[in-house]
């Protein structure tokens, strides 16, 4: 991090015309990221954005860094290879709910369990946008779309539960309506050593407009957004009148007046055991009731690319640097005169 030049948002933006629909939630996420980058103490040349396919996946074209717009679902795998080969880089992976949870679901969970140093931002709009409006793996049961005219019968994923289940060492949620919150979460994500999964609730104003309104609209936030804060009792509401407790192995919303502040669950994002974070992720399965945002889990676990690099160093210390002539003779030789 020596001699990182001072930059501005403009330095991190490309000259490419941004081609999302007017009013798309992706714009505010792009702005938040472009505004945050100059403060992270990193250089543009050491930063890489990798994406798959979908609206969100156009993201790298707009970042004046290194970038790869790859193929559908494979960005976590491609980024894993890049991070393993180049532990010196800052690698961000951007995709939507279809890219990450459907076609790329396998790569996502394996990247998370490996804890390789990539920061995965999943824009969740609960719809397929680029293919013009089919139900996604996060769409609700009964969702009427072009491919489900009688309502979807698929049960959706809870992305936070999935990431926690995969053993992700950093799991967080934020939303496109609050740049300050987004920036706070993404900064913390950037500082984390290991795989990061951030679900960003994002509005698709063309194919699923208002899908998050009940929790992210300014007027509804007090009642329905629970901002997790490490070390504090989990409370929300205009006057912090609601809180979260664990009862019968479930997280539940209660009136603080009924139970007292001391009965509330104190949020511990560094808790090794992911069980409590998982309970919080189940608090609301649909965005119509109080939903936690912020950091669910942030724990220290061995980072993958460092582990791989250490084995190389150990092998050299033990066997000396590679010697081709010796390798070719390692199975025994004989000489013909």
């Amino acid at each position: 991090m020596t001699n990182v030049p001072t930059t501005t948002k403009k330095d991190w933006s490309t000259d490419q015309e941004v081609r999302w629909c007017p009013g798309c939630g992706d714009y505010s996420i792009l702005t938040a990221v472009q505004m945050m980058m100059p403060d992270l103490g990193v250089t543009r040349e050491n930063t890489v954005f990798v994406s798959g396919i979908g609206c969100a996946a156009r993201f790298p074209y707009y970042m004046n860094t290194y970038g790869m717009h790859s193929i559908h679902g494979r960005s976590p795998a491609i980024a894993t290879g890049l991070a393993t080969a180049r532990p010196d880089l800052d690698i961000w992976v951007v995709g939507g709910d279809g890219d990450m949870l459907s076609i790329g679901g396998n790569h996502l969970i394996h990247a998370l369990r490996r804890n390789v140093n990539i920061k995965i931002l999943m824009f969740n709009n609960m719809i397929y946008g680029l293919t013009k409006g089919q139900y996604s793996p996060t769409s609700e049961v009964g969702k009427i779309t072009k491919s489900s005219p009688f309502g979807s019968v698929d049960a959706p994923f809870n992305p936070i539960s999935l990431a926690l289940g995969a053993g992700a060492s950093f799991v967080a949620r934020t939303h496109d309506m609050d740049r300050k919150h987004m920036t706070k979460v993404l900064r913390q994500a950037h500082e984390h050593d290991g795989s990061v999964f951030v679900e960003i609730l994002q509005n698709c104003n063309v194919f699923n407009d208002g899908a998050w309104d009940k929790i992210t609209k300014r007027a509804n936030r007090d009642a329905n957004l629970i901002d997790l804060s490490h070390g504090d009792p989990i409370q929300f509401g205009a006057d912090n009148e609601f809180g979260v407790v664990v009862e019968n192995a479930e997280a539940k919303v209660v009136n603080v007046a009924d139970v007292g502040v001391d009965a509330l669950l104190v949020h511990d994002e560094h808790r090794e055991e992911p069980g409590l974070a998982f309970l919080l992720s189940r608090l609301s399965n649909r965005p119509v009731s109080p939903t936690p945002v912020g950091v669910f889990r942030s724990v220290n676990q061995p980072e993958y690319s460092a582990g791989v690099a250490r084995q190389l160093v150990d092998a050299q210390a033990q066997n000396g640097p590679g010697d081709l002539a010796a390798m070719l003779r390692s199975a025994g030789t004989w000489t013909v005169d």
Partner: protein
């Protein structure tokens, strides 16, 4: 030691022998064959091996499905195949005899573990009566040896339980055959001590069984003679015995050194390619990073990611894996990044014959991606040649910034041959430069980076890796504008980029050796081969020439693009015969590209060509003499 005076058995000199060891998959036949091979290599014979094993790790004991075999040919002259038919068949049980007898040359020797010929085992193998005494083996020289009992006796005094002694009977067989062919014993005894170090009872048991087998040959009045095969007159130098998978792995490691780049392998276990992953995983002190991915797609994706980061990237697999990697290979073609895809071909379609070789992925390598996605294809011709082929594939990938397909197969993967080790100082320098500077200017005269500005000679684009100041750029699968690499949907630009990518791959032809014709350049018939058929074709050509035929031979190492003179060579012959372990894929390409009436000799039964089969096809073409 026995107190019987050694009999003076005649020692006969042979020029070559082909031995096939066969038994249950749990009987250790691969190990027995490999030990015999290794000792023969050190002794100085030329040799070639053909392992054959079932897909199951342990198929039901004693059944035909569970038979595992290892054929080895040793000689006092240079050879290129493991031999058409063994002259000695060692069988550890009735199933092995039943499954393998058809391979044996007429009049050949059958050495059997007679203890295993029980009613139950005969029944499992489908024998109605015991072939050892029902006369059905007339025409062969039969040597029944109670290997299990003799092994038990030999190991009993060590305190080895009879059931455990059974496990050493393959060493009895190895001892017996070592005596029969006058092999040195010391290397095998040392190997046993090293391999089972710390398990002294096993060491003692295996050594006792080996010695018992050796002494049995010498003292029991069963055999008429024993034999010796003198060392072959091979070019002088230092040799090792290597199989194709090991040679490929070493070639990949070497390519990294020759390119001065860190090696990255993304792989997912699949027969028969997995041993390359095993071998490369050992060489971390060369800076080799190996990632066992969650699936074939991720293995290829991770390799591509590493290539983007500036590594020399490989992914290793077999046919079904290539099918899964196809989309990522298409991306690599579009991104114009270097990587090598190694396909160790096996029988298909689908799971097919996982442990049997086939060479039927050529058209998939050529065309198995959507749209126009050409990529260079390289194929090794022998186990040791896999080393050079890996370096050549890497050279092309790096120089032309393209994925390259390397087509090996299950036969090359597992068979071995002596390899005259190269002087590593003479291996080619395949290093390339990363881009570090602007390569263009904008309308204001300021320096800019054009990621798709091409080298005029190779048409390769610059390789600017992350971490390089000022050269930040975005690449992607969407069609790119020529020079700038920006997204472009312009019709004319798309056609131009399609043409440029094709021209770049076609241009590799300027950079590879011409196709060489061996044999008689004025012959009527040219035999054109590729891949592992080289050995059988070479042997067939020699036999045809010995029989007075005039025939020419050429072997393609580069299958896309073909060497520049290929059309010219083919036009010189009235007839072209193409033997392939597929239904005629190279023949199809040659007919389409060169408009000649090439004839296909197809074999697709999971067993490599014998030289006899190719010789028969040659004589069919040229008429009996």
């Amino acid at each position: 030691m026995t107190d019987t005076a050694p009999r003076e058995l005649p020692l006969q000199e042979l020029s070559e022998v082909v031995i096939r060891f066969a038994g249950d998959s749990g009987d250790g036949m691969q190990l027995t064959g490999e030990r015999f091979t290794s000792v023969s290599a050190v002794f100085g014979n030329d040799l070639s091996t053909l392992p054959e094993f079932p897909a199951e790790i342990r198929a039901p004991q004693g059944t035909l499905a569970g038979v595992s075999a290892f054929q080895v040919r040793i000689s006092d002259f240079a050879i290129s195949t493991p031999g058409d038919a063994p002259t000695v068949l060692v069988c550890m049980n009735p199933a092995a005899l039943k499954a393998q007898l058809h391979h044996l040359a007429q009049g050949g020797a059958v050495i059997v573990n007679s203890d295993a010929f029980t009613e139950r085992n005969l029944d499992k193998a489908g024998y109605k009566s015991n072939p050892l005494d029902d006369g059905s083996l007339v025409g062969y020289r039969l040597y029944p040896v109670p290997m299990a009992e003799l092994t038990k006796t030999a190991t009993a005094e060590l305190g080895v339980k009879p059931r455990d002694a059974e496990r050493s009977k393959n060493f009895f067989a190895l001892g017996l055959i070592s005596w029969m062919y006058s092999r040195p014993t010391e290397p095998t005894l040392q190997w046993v001590k090293d391999k089972f170090a710390g398990r002294e009872l096993i060491v003692a048991s295996n050594i006792a069984a080996f010695n018992a087998g050796y002494n049995f040959g010498e003292t029991a009045e069963v055999f008429e003679a024993h034999y010796e095969i003198k060392p072959a007159q091979l070019p002088s130098g230092e040799y090792t015995n290597v199989n194709g998978n090991t040679a490929l792995a070493w070639g990949c490691v070497a390519a990294g050194q020759l390119a001065n780049l860190p090696v990255f392998l993304g792989s997912y276990p699949i027969t028969p390619a997995t041993d390359i992953l095993h071998e490369m995983s050992k060489h971390k002190n060369f800076g080799v990073r190996t990632l066992q991915a969650e699936d074939e797609i991720a293995a290829c994706g991770a390799a591509l990611g590493a290539a983007y980061g500036g590594a020399l990237a490989f992914t290793t697999t077999s046919g079904p894996g290539v099918a899964l990697k196809g989309e990522t290979i298409g991306l690599a073609i579009s991104l114009e990044l270097p990587m090598v895809i190694i396909d160790v071909q096996r029988g298909g379609p689908s799971t097919g014959l996982p442990t049997k070789p086939e060479a039927a992925d050529l058209l998939m390598a050529m065309f198995g991606r959507h749209s126009e996605s050409p990529m260079p294809i390289v194929a090794p011709q022998s186990p040791a040649d896999c080393f050079d082929a890996a370096i050549e594939a890497s050279r092309i990938a790096l120089k032309y910034r393209t994925p390259v397909m390397l087509l090996s197969d299950g036969y090359l993967a597992n068979s071995s041959e002596p390899w005259l080790l190269p002087d590593v100082a003479t291996l080619p320098d395949i290093s390339v430069d990363f881009a570090t500077e602007y390569n263009g200017t904008n309308e204001d005269g300021e320096g800019i980076f054009l990621p798709y500005l091409r080298d005029p000679e190779t048409l390769a684009r610059p390789w600017a890796v992350p971490g390089t100041p000022n050269l930040m750029h975005r690449v992607g699968g969407i069609e790119k504008e020529d020079r700038t690499g920006n997204i472009s949907y312009d019709p004319a630009n798309h056609e131009k980029m399609i043409d440029l990518r094709a021209a770049k791959v076609a241009g590799v032809a300027n950079d590879i050796p011409a196709l060489v014709v061996h044999g008689d350049p004025d012959a009527e018939l040219l035999v054109l081969g590729w891949g592992s058929t080289w050995g059988a074709i070479d042997a067939a050509i020699n036999r045809a020439t010995d029989n007075g035929y005039s025939v020419a031979y050429a072997h393609l190492r580069h299958l896309n693009p073909f060497p520049k003179n290929t059309g010219e060579v083919l036009a010189n012959f009235r007839k072209v015969l193409i033997p392939e372990m597929n239904s005629g894929q190279l023949a199809l390409l040659v007919r389409a590209k060169f408009l000649i009436d090439a004839k296909s000799l197809s074999k697709i039964n999971g067993v490599p060509f014998t030289s006899g089969e190719i010789l028969d096809a040659i004589t069919d073409e040229l008429g009996q003499k």
